[in-house]
Symmetry: C2
Subunit: 150 residues, 2 copies
DNA sequence: CTTAGTGCAAAACATTTGCATCGGT
DNA sequence: ACCGATGCAAATGTTTTGCACTAAG
């Protein structure tokens, strides 16, 4: 499946979501979705804002924050809090679920999948009689010094 | 070991840390440590600030934020980012390492330990050739409806 | 035509910073 | 006495909000 197909699927999901929730289908909302699905990796609202200022459809920060809520709600976007203040986002339709390793020095973000996290969630559901909605696992690490230096 | 002993140990660790890093042993710093180690559970800076306004040693927010950095640095306190904005802290000397389940509706925080998280970290260290410094695992969940209602 | 959505600027909020003063060493 | 630490208030930077205007339905 090409990334264009993924964008089109995302558009359709968003459209249905907007209809079902009686939200209006504004050009701004679809422009934001498109911008996000055209982009690789994590981004914050300010970056998205700058990027869209240079494009066809200029949107305000208020609209961006508003639209991110909608996209979160229909699971087209995930939100992370790697550092302290700035929230990071990433597209998530047809993207494999994953967690993150943050390299302390550089802020570089690596992605990984480990099935054991699912097992942990299953254990917790039984232990506490809860229904797990989602999770956030961030590993903070630094790169190993090469042994060849010794 | 009583909680007084734990407080005294913490005080000693802090004292040594301050000496070794050529920081001054001010009454404010020890008052903050004491307030934290007298408290059960998670707290934010504003709560700590209010609590200390009613006590013997009144400290400013600036000093609180400053001192939290020191306590984090010498591993007497852990910092969490459960929600969006407000950072939550908890004492951690002689407290078992644990992760958190956040109940979505109420904001209630449960604690748990699962050895599989250590295994995941070990796998990642090999896979990416990194040294894991620490991690943050938050499970967001809601309480199950009772089956007896059916 | 109705009213949700938009852009802008102001407000809100937790946290940081500048600066004069205080007090550990 | 020196200069790091404090308290206060102002600044910061991200996110939210109020309001007048625009445009989707």
């Amino acid at each position: 499946m090409s990334s264009d197909d993924i964008l089109n699927q995302a558009r359709e999901i968003f459209e249905v979501y907007l209809e079902q929730n009686r939200h209006r289908k504004t050009p701004e909302r679809f422009a934001i979705l498109e911008e996000i699905y055209t982009y690789q990796g994590h981004f914050d609202v300010e970056t998205l804002y700058s990027r869209m200022q240079n494009g066809d459809c200029r949107v305000s920060r208020a609209t961006l924050y508003n639209t991110m809520e909608l996209l979160l709600d229909c699971n087209l976007v995930r939100k992370h809090q790697f550092g302290e203040k700035i929230a990071q986002y990433e597209k998530c339709h047809r993207v494999r679920q994953h967690d993150h390793v943050i390299i302390a020095d550089t802020g570089e973000v690596l992605e990984f999948c480990d099935p054991r996290i699912q097992q942990i969630k299953a254990t917790l559901e039984e232990l506490f009689d809860i229904e797990v909605l989602h999770h956030s696992l961030n590993i903070y690490a630094r790169k190993r010094k090469k042994k060849t230096d010794a």
